[in-house]
């Protein structure tokens, strides 16, 4: 056998993981750098209480950015995620307050709106072949109009403070014990999974990670998670909010779907080279439609969380820069605008970068104008890096 693996150098599966890991490393480094700079200028930024706030601010737009990652991966875009999140917030408020529905029903209807919009976009894209930039721009305006109509003349509706929904989004936090139990569970599950995979690959006579490599990875994971939990529960800090747990869960699930399922493989193939994917027998249309649906539904969920966090829905919910922040976050987090490359984790990292800058500059009493300019500069930097990496790969 001329090409039997496992001989010299780093084995393939290990390389693959290293590659994926290093893809996110520069952004992690940038994030840590931003935190250190902001913390040096104003130590209040790094206070556990403030970082808890940062996570709470990040969750709703992070959920939206996660959806944006999916449409970017198939080489499309959705500019209407902000309007849709605003509409979803309005539906929750009007449904549960004005119409007196149970909150769960109102949330269900809001998410259903997302599904319907996503199906519509999917049809426009795959049946009529319209560019998503154009029809989601139309969607941005249209849905903003629907949002105003749903809210009605009042323009703002407060959610009852005592509803379970508002309470769990605003004041629901994992008890410290549960958080630590989760850390242990995740670390053990990860180590067990890696060892099981290693054993299977060994039996199949394929290259596999060495035990020390598994140990190092497990140790790094345990250290990072412990640090996060220890810090967020330090002193009077409230810890990890339920909306943050939901966001993290969605990211982990999406990451597994993208890396470990047939659907995820189709997504990367369609975004990388749509014609080649079609010729190889990938169900291109279904893949694209599902990404639009997932994006719209996540955008609606982000709007629901935003309403819960604010305890209200108004004309400004999901407006202004929401969609720009969500798209910028996905790109800053390392998901390519050109399709095919990216990770669910880029939603987390990108949103943390943008919200850290916004949060830090607010603490410094810097005005909105400067925040926009700094965020814009960071986005430009991310796009330039995306461009350069693409050129280098193709060279």
């Amino acid at each position: 056998m001329s090409a039997q693996p496992g001989g010299t150098g780093l084995p393939g599966a290990v390389w693959q993981r290293v590659r994926i890991g290093t893809g996110l490393l520069p952004i992690v480094a940038a994030l840590v750098g931003i935190w250190l700079v902001l913390g040096a200028i104003n130590p209040a930024f790094l206070a556990p209480e403030n970082l808890v706030n940062l996570t709470l601010q990040s969750a709703p737009v992070g959920v939206i950015a996660l959806g944006v990652v999916l449409v970017l991966l198939v080489g499309e875009i959705d500019l209407s995620v902000g309007s849709l999140s605003g509409l979803a917030a309005a539906v929750v408020a009007v449904g549960s307050v004005t119409l007196g529905w149970p909150v769960a029903l109102a949330i269900g209807v809001a998410l259903a709106c997302g599904v319907v919009v996503g199906l519509g976009y999917g049809a426009l894209s795959t049946r009529l072949g319209l560019p998503s930039f154009v029809f989601t721009l139309a969607g941005l305006l249209f849905l903003a109009g629907v949002q105003l109509r749903v809210l009605g003349p009042l323009g703002s509706i407060n959610l009852p403070f005592e509803s379970w929904f508002v309470r769990s989004v605003q004041q629901g936090f994992l008890p410290a014990g549960v958080a630590w139990a989760l850390v242990v569970a995740v670390v053990v599950a990860s180590a067990a999974g890696q060892l099981a995979a290693r054993a299977r690959r060994r039996r199949a006579d394929l290259a596999c990670a060495s035990v020390p490599q598994v140990a190092v990875r497990t140790f790094v994971l345990a250290a990072v998670l412990s640090l996060v939990v220890a810090y967020l529960y330090l002193g009077s800090a409230r810890g990890i909010g339920y909306s943050v747990v939901l966001f993290a869960l969605l990211v982990v699930v999406t990451d597994v779907l993208l890396r470990r399922t047939r659907w995820g493989r189709s997504v990367r193939a369609v975004g990388g080279d749509r014609r080649a994917a079609m010729l190889a027998g990938v169900p291109v249309r279904r893949t694209v439609v599902l990404c639009f649906v997932a994006c719209s539904t996540l955008a609606a969920l982000g709007g629901v969380l935003a309403a819960g966090r604010l305890g209200a829905a108004n004309q400004g919910t999901g407006g202004a820069d929401t969609y720009l922040v969500a798209i910028a976050a996905a790109v800053i987090g390392g998901t390519s605008l050109f399709g095919g490359r990216g990770s669910a984790w880029s939603a987390v990292l990108g949103v943390l970068v943008i919200q850290s800058i916004a949060n830090g500059l607010t603490l410094m009493n810097v005005d909105q104008a400067a925040r926009y300019m700094v965020t814009g500069a960071v986005l430009l930097l991310a796009i330039v890096i995306d461009m350069l990496m693409r050129k280098r790969r193709e060279a």
Binding site: M1, A3, Q4, G12, W15, T261, R262, G272, A280, G281
Partner: protein, 252 residues
């Protein structure tokens, strides 16, 4: 002898004003290599595309086991047992070798991909092609032209399809690998597959072809037996010597 596995009857296909195929009839049998030759632009790739579900004919029919089938997409053709290596290979550059070989037909274990089984099978297919691919977990953009072609051939062999359509599979291969691919084609025939081999290198074909279909300007110009002389083929391909009255040897 049993009837053909795959046939074209009166197939025509135009792209705008270009008539890529005009009233084409063709048959492929099991245990047979049908070669398709012709000059550049003769319509060979279009013919391969019709067989593989990438092009829908404007007129005429595709028959599988004598029954008309609608090859809507490459996925449909594949599910009916017709696999193809397209001239442009149709590899996704960002995906690695294993991912490309199994693209659209991944092996799963429960809800998740079975990477171990896929990696093993990919090595098996590549070894069978004596491929010099050093690493199956590198993106295919890092491979040479010949290595990419071997990966595309390996993908077509996955799942042992009944009909294998190869559009210029040796175009960017070296001497040794060309021989290896031609060997493989012979083995496919021995195992009972029907093979359609498109090429404009008439020399290659004579080694393996049972019948040679010559396309010129989208029309079936002639069908030769596998032992046709190089001069005859060249003449038919280029029209340097006008053949006499229409004659179709070896057809049906």
């Amino acid at each position: 002898m049993s009837g053909p596995v795959l046939s074209l009857r009166g197939v025509s296909k135009r792209f705008g004003g270009v008539r890529a195929l005009v009233d084409v009839d063709a048959d492929v049998h099991e245990h047979e290599v049908l070669a398709v030759v012709g000059d550049n632009g003769a319509g060979k790739s279009t013919l391969a595309g019709v067989l593989a579900g990438a092009h829908r004919p404007d007129a005429g029919q595709v028959l599988l086991d004598g029954r008309p089938v609608l090859l809507d997409s490459p996925a449909v053709a594949r599910s009916l047992g017709i696999a193809a290596v397209f001239q442009e290979l149709a590899l996704v550059d960002d995906l690695d070798v294993v991912e490309n070989v199994f693209l659209g037909h991944e092996t799963v274990r429960g809800p998740l991909l079975d990477e171990v089984a896929m990696e093993r099978e990919a090595w098996r297919l590549l070894d069978q092609l004596a491929a010099s691919v050093p690493e199956v977990r590198e993106p295919v953009r890092t491979l040479s032209g010949g290595q990419r072609q071997v990966v595309a051939v390996a993908r077509a062999l996955l799942g042992s399809p009944r009909v294998v359509v190869l559009d210029e599979p040796t175009a960017s291969l070296g001497v040794r690998q060309t021989a290896e691919v031609l060997n493989l084609i012979v083995r496919l025939r021995e195992r009972g597959h029907a093979v359609v081999l498109v090429s404009h290198q008439a020399g290659d074909l004579q080694a393996v072809a049972d019948r040679i279909l010559v396309l010129r300007l989208g029309r079936v110009h002639d069908v030769f037996d596998g032992d046709a002389s190089y001069e005859d083929l060249l003449a038919a391909m280029t029209g340097a010597v006008r053949p006499g009255a229409p004659h179709r040897r070896g057809q049906r």
